[in-house]
Structures are given as C-alpha cells and as structure tokens.
C-alpha cells in the first residue's frame, strides 16, 4: 500500500509533441493518499485511461515523475510496481481453472506453494467463487470473470494500489450494484488505495471518497461528491455531474449583478477587475432554480415537464438558452412561470472556471 504522487505528468502519444493539443494528458499534479478510494471521472477520451496506464506502468509518461511513497517509480517496470489493474473487459486465462487463475500472479513471483494455497482460498471465499474453484475459467459469466480479474489483484499481499478501468461496463445492471458494494466492502476490509476510472457519475459518486474530474486531458476538480455538486470548479463539472446537469447561461457582469440579456441576477461574488475574461457565465443547478409567478423573476419558456417520480424536471429556455429546473413534490408550476435564482447557489464562471473572489 502506498501514497501515489503524480508530479508534473504530461503524456503525448505522438513522438514529438509541439502544441498543447498534441498532449493526451496535459500537466497533471495529483496525489492519491494511501488507502483512499478515488474515482477518475470524465467523458470518453479525456485521458482517464492514459493516466491509469501511467500509474500501472503500461505507459511511460512523456514528462514528469511518478512517486510511490515518495520514491520515484517512473522508470520501474509494471511487474516491479506491484500494481493490480482490472480492465474494462474481464481478462481471465481461459485454459486455467479458477484456482490457477488466482494462483498465477503468486506463482510467477515464486511464492511457496503452501502460502499460495492459503491465499487463494482466502480470496476465493471473499469473491464467493469457492464452489467453482476447480472449473475452467472459460465459460464463466462476465461478472464471475471480472471477479477473478479482481481476485488476481487482491491475492498479492504486496499490492500498492488497485486500479479499475471502467470495470463494470460489461456487467448486468443488477450485478453492477452488487459488485460495487462488494468493492466498497473490500476497500474497508483491506484498505488498499483504489483508483476507479469511470464515465458514469453514479458509479464514481457511490464508490469514491474523492472524485477526480478530468476534462480534455486536464484535472479540472478534485473533491468530495458534495463539493462537486455545490461548487463545481469548472462548467464541465457542473454539466457532467448531476442529472440534469448545471444550467450554464452566458452573462455580462456588472458589479455584483450578472446581466443575462435584459435581466439581472444577484451574485455573491464578482469579477476581479484585474483579470480579463473573454467569456463569463452564470451557473446554477436545476435543484436551486425556484419557480415564481409572472413578474417575479426571469421569464421562462416551458418546453416540457418530465415526471420522474419523486420530482418533476421542467425543461425550459430563457433568451434562447436551455434552463432546467427541478420542481419538488407538492409544488405546482405557475401559468407563466419565471425563474428565481438562489444567490448563494449561483456561481460565476470566467472562461469556464469558477470565480471565487467576493463581489
């Protein structure tokens, strides 16, 4: 088990990267604390898997250093890093039995047979495949195979961290939930550092203590699920997390007011006059948009209302920009509704990044 530091890591798949656009991973500085459960969240192609492969040593970063417990492992081979990785598609050695699959990493490292046997039985019990130990891995179900992939990581006592690369993609929805809670449980039991790559926000938010959101090869925010929800550092985070995502409306800032077209909303923070922003936006989560009667707030054109059981989602637009609101149970939607923004929950973004200075 180890603390993992990524120090100025950059990676490009091109031999001679010139512009920032050539980098799949633009300068990442990140620390995974020992024993933490992290999720790397982002849309496809944002560099999540690249980052993961750099940690496991399947890729060597173009620039920067990787440290395990303060010691540089950038040049170490995958085998020497003692990392376990679970891939998107289950990898099992078809011709081996379930037992041999689990024993494989230990035997490769020359662990004595008695110890192998004891460890493998322990893992078989944990992943609940004791009854199938002697069967060939070929022909098991996808979730059983994925459990074996996971088991091969757990079986080693020297594992520094377990990396998951969208491990539940091919698993049935019901089994996803079961496996995820098993992972959570294993994390508590063993205390491994776990890094979980996913593009599914539910998976990320339920699994991890801390979520690392990536966008376009950069880390845009690291935080607890609550922080990501309340104070998205980047409009992408706001848009990506939450269902529906945060409303982002182009605006002009005038002191402590944001002007959206002909209307104004109050802000609790303002622009630093020394910084020039090309683009300013107001972000507010649909949860914090209240509906008012005509004349009370910003005029809202209602396009659709979706009833999702516990609440309703109002899909509307304002000045041609989409604006969603969540209407709680028991609340009615006025005839010609207007939108009221809660100033405490209204965030200001300059060039897509959150402005935190006071007004």
């Amino acid at each position: 088990m180890a603390r993992i530091d990524l120090d100025h890591i950059r990676h490009s798949y091109l031999p001679n990267p010139a512009s920032p656009g050539d980098y799949a991973l633009k300068e990442v500085n990140l620390t995974f604390e020992d024993g933490g459960a992290y999720a790397l969240l982002g849309s496809s192609g944002c560099g999540k898997t690249t980052l993961l492969n750099i940690i496991s040593g399947l890729l060597t970063p173009s620039e920067g250093e990787l440290l395990f417990d303060g010691k540089s492992v950038t040049e170490l081979s995958t085998e020497a890093r003692n990392i376990a990785q679970v891939f998107q598609f289950p990898v099992v050695y078809d011709t081996m039995s379930v037992y041999d699959n689990l024993a494989f990493p230990l035997r490769n490292r020359g662990v004595p047979a008695a110890e192998v046997d004891q460890k493998v039985h322990e893992i078989l019990r944990i992943i609940d495949l004791e009854s199938k130990a002697k069967r060939k891995a070929q022909g098991l179900t996808a979730d059983e195979k994925q459990k074996i992939s996971l088991g091969r990581g757990l079986v080693r006592s020297d594992t520094n961290a377990i990396l998951f690369d969208e491990p539940l993609t091919v698993i049935d929805p019901h089994m996803k939930w079961v496996l995820r809670s098993q992972l959570k449980h294993l994390h508590k039991q063993f205390g491994f550092t776990m890094v979980y790559v996913t593009h599914d926000q539910t998976e990320a938010l339920t699994f991890a203590d801390k979520v690392v959101v990536m966008y376009g090869g950069e880390v845009v925010q690291i935080g607890t699920p609550d922080e990501l929800f309340r104070k998205p550092q980047h409009t992408f985070v706001g848009y990506f997390i939450g269902s529906p995502g945060m409303n982002v409306l182009p605006c002009e800032v005038d002191g402590s007011m944001a002007r959206i077209g002909e209307h104004s909303v109050p802000l609790v923070c303002g622009l630093n006059p020394k910084k020039v922003a090309r683009k300013t936006e107001v972000g507010i989560r649909p949860e914090f948009v209240k509906l008012g009667a005509a004349g009370e707030g910003l005029p809202l054109k209602v396009n659709a209302v979706e009833d999702i059981g516990r609440c309703r989602i109002l899909r509307g637009e304002m000045e041609g920009v989409a604006l969603n609101a969540i209407v709680g149970e028991g609340l009615s939607i006025p005839e010609n509704p207007t939108a009221l923004f809660d100033p405490a929950q209204t965030n200001l973004y300059a060039d897509s990044w959150l402005v935190s200075e006071g007004a």
Partner: protein, 295 residues
C-alpha cells in the same frame, strides 16, 4: 405448422446433384467397380473379388510407400507447425511491416505446385543449381538424384518452404485477435514470456492450429506434384509416395484393378485420419459448448 411440400423444389437442386454425380459419385463408383475386377484390353473384365485388396495389403511395396507417406507427413508437421507459430509470433502487429510480411508470406502459396517442383529441381541441381552447387563447393556431398537422404531433405525443405506460410497466416490471424488487455494483465501478473505464450497466445491459436494441422496433414499425405517433378520418386523408390506409386501402377503399368483397390484404401486412410482430427476438433468444440450451456 403444416409443412409445404413442393416437388418442384427438387429441380433447383438437380444441377448440383448432376454435377456431384459426374464429378464425384460416378468416378468413385467406377473405381469401386474396377477394384473388384481384373481387366485385359478390349473391355474384357473378370471378377476378382477381394483378391486385389489381399494382394495390396500384404504387398511390401504398399507398406513401404505408406510408411514413407506417414514419415513425410509427420516430419513436415513437426517442422511446419512450430516454425509457423514462431514466425507468426515474430511478425509485427501494426505499422507498415504488416502488409509487407503478409505479402511475403502469401507468395509461396500463390506459386503453382509443379512450378514449386521445378524451382527446387533447378535450385538443387549440382551443375547449375545455386543450392546444389553451393553445398557441394562447401564439401557436402549433396546430390538428390543419387542420395536418398539428399532427396528426402530436398522434398521436405521444399514442402516447408511452400506450406509453412499457411500455418503462419492461420496463427497470425489467431494472434491479432487477442485484445491488448490480455498482455497488459499478464505484465501486471508478472507473467514470463513463456507463460504469456502458454496461457494467452497458444489457447487463442488453438482452433486455427487444429485446422492448420488437419489441412497440412491431408495435403502432405496426398503429395504428388512437387516430389514427382523433383525426384520422380527416386533415387530407387526412396521418395515414391503412395500417390506416385498409384500413378505408376494405373498409368505406367495399366494395372487398373490393383490401382483401383489401392485408390480405395488410400482414400479410406485419409478419411480415417481426417475423421480422427475432426473428432478431436469436435471434442474441443463440445467442451466449449458444455461450459457455455452452464452459463
């Protein structure tokens, strides 16, 4: 549901039936017919019963040719299969090298069989052949027209040159279908190069290898053209395989009865071996199905 009976449908199948009858069934029956009779010129036939078969099965000439065939087939399998796997493993998986290698590999397969024979016949000649001249100038006494060992070596090397590509291409197809994650997982598990081959690459090549073995066995067991062109079955009878012997008997000596009996036995031997291979392949398949059924 009521099954529709439409006898007109048979007309659709008729051309195929006629074709198969003329190309396979009728010639085969003719051979069966000859095998039980003795023939003299002028279309005179006499019933011979199983005499030809008895004679054939106790004939030393047949035993020797059969023995040579088996030795030849198993020798080339023992060389071509490991060599083919080895070359396939060395071939690049991406980049400009892939089409280059594939074309190079496919070249020998595109050469007509008698041309392959001619190439090697000339190549191995002591007077004008590069190989023959070179070996002799090194002091190795190589002459495939006089020395049975040299003749065998030439025929085997020629077959390896001609057909290893097939095994390579089959194995390569198996190898490129392995997802990258398998190799990555093996690195993480600390697997050695040998373990990667034994537990990842070989299992993935398993089914194509069985097809390769089957094809190479059948083809090599029926080999005729190349050794006929190079050695003509000699020196002596040392490279006379069943097919060459059969042609000698049927066309050279015009012994239609014994030749027909030999054809049938030859055919049955190939059928038997193919059946054995087919059964092995099928067993592997049902094992898979068995597990899949439990899912």
């Amino acid at each position: 549901m009521e099954k529709t009976v439409n006898n007109k449908a048979w007309f659709m199948v008729l051309p195929v039936l006629v074709l198969v009858a003329f190309t396979a069934v009728i010639p085969l029956m003719t051979v069966v017919n000859y095998a039980f009779q003795d023939s003299f010129g002028n279309n005179q036939f006499f019933w011979a019963g199983i005499e030809w078969f008895q004679e054939l099965l106790s004939s030393e000439r047949f035993h020797d040719a059969l023995g040579r065939n088996l030795i030849f087939s198993f020798t080339i399998l023992a060389i071509e299969i490991p060599l083919g796997i080895g070359i396939a493993l060395c071939m690049p998986k991406k980049g400009w090298g892939v089409p280059v290698c594939l074309v190079l590999m496919a070249l020998p397969l595109l050469v007509p069989w008698n041309v392959v024979g001619t190439i090697w016949q000339v190549f191995g000649r002591v007077d004008i052949g590069l190989l023959g001249y070179f070996l002799n100038s090194l002091g190795i006494n190589y002459n495939y027209t006089q020395d049975p060992v040299a003749a065998w070596a030439t025929v085997i090397v020629m077959d390896v040159w001609h057909w290893t590509s097939l095994v390579v291409l089959l194995c390569y197809a198996g190898l490129v279908s392995i997802p990258e994650a398998y190799y990555q997982a093996a690195r993480i598990d600390g697997a050695s190069r040998w373990a990667v081959f034994r537990y990842i690459q070989l299992p993935k090549m398993h089914s194509v290898l069985l097809i390769g073995v089957l094809l190479r066995f059948m083809d090599s067991f029926m080999i005729y053209t190349e050794p006929f062109v190079v050695t003509g079955g000699g020196p002596g009878n040392s490279t006379t395989f069943l097919s060459i012997d059969l042609v000698k008997m049927a066309i050279g000596q015009f012994d239609l009865g014994p030749a027909a009996a030999m054809s049938l036995v030859y055919f049955l031997i190939i059928l038997l071996f193919s059946w054995v291979f087919y059964t092995i392949m099928n067993n592997v398949g049902t094992e898979k199905k068995h597990y899949a059924g439990e899912e």
